[in-house]
């Protein structure tokens, strides 16, 4: 079964507001996490990643937070724009080699309202 899941299938926010997308993972052996953005008709696009030796990592308008105690991952998007509308996936990888691939969560559809 899947070890990564998302709390909310759909999240609707006003343009300009901040959005937070949550993800829970169940495999404590996972030590590398990635957030992907998937627009309609396109492949998953890398947004930001974080390793288990970190609690927080910031990118351009995005921040990923990792809480290993409760196995929780979140993606914060600041000042959301219409172009942020997409499905967002968290994915995990377990130590042991890159060939293990990624395990994906179900995805959250982020809708930006004007």
């Amino acid at each position: 079964g899947e070890s990564v899941g998302l709390h909310l299938p759909t999240l609707s926010v006003q343009e300009g507001d901040n959005s937070i997308i949550n993800c829970a993972y169940s495999n404590s052996a996972s030590d590398y996490f990635i957030w992907y953005k998937q627009e309609s008709g396109k492949g998953p696009q890398f947004i930001i990643d974080i390793r288990s030796n970190m609690d927080k990592r910031q990118g351009q308008r995005v921040t990923v937070l990792l809480n290993k105690t409760v196995k929780h991952l979140s993606l914060q998007i600041a000042a959301t724009q219409p172009g942020d509308s997409a499905v967002y996936f968290c994915a995990e990888n377990i130590a042991g080699g890159g060939a293990d691939g990624l395990t994906f969560g179900k995805g959250t559809h982020l809708i930006i309202q004007p």
Binding site: G43, V87, G98, G101, F104
Partner: protein
């Protein structure tokens, strides 16, 4: 330049046919993958190839066979297509445990 490319973008075929999807990456990555995305958007790994060696086969039917002529290519062959094979198939590549890049996907429809 496109990092990971797939052809075709769309594939419509009859049940029972055999088809192939091609994938190429120009990133110099050592590992390539195939993922399947179902109608509910769930992404699941099917295969990975590292230096021409199959690393993972996640309970995929043996009608599916990945073939890698070289490090930059990983093609997916599907025999005796079934209705349930309809999905979007994504190729991806990575270098070690960083930089997983995905292709644009191939939407397969089996009639």
């Amino acid at each position: 330049d496109t990092a990971v490319s797939q052809t075709p973008k769309y594939l419509v075929t009859q049940m029972g046919n055999d088809k192939s999807i091609k994938c190429e990456q120009n990133l110099g990555h050592d590992t390539m993958y195939w993922y399947k995305q179902d109608s509910k958007k769930f992404l699941k790994i099917m295969f990975s190839y590292n230096n021409k060696e199959l690393i993972i086969n996640e309970t995929v039917p043996n009608r599916f066979s990945p073939k890698s002529p070289d490090k930059a290519h990983l093609n997916l062959h599907i025999n005796s297509l079934e209705l349930g094979d309809s999905a979007v198939y994504f190729c991806a590549s990575s270098q070690g445990r960083t930089g997983w890049y995905f292709g644009p996907g191939t939407r397969l429809t089996v009639l």
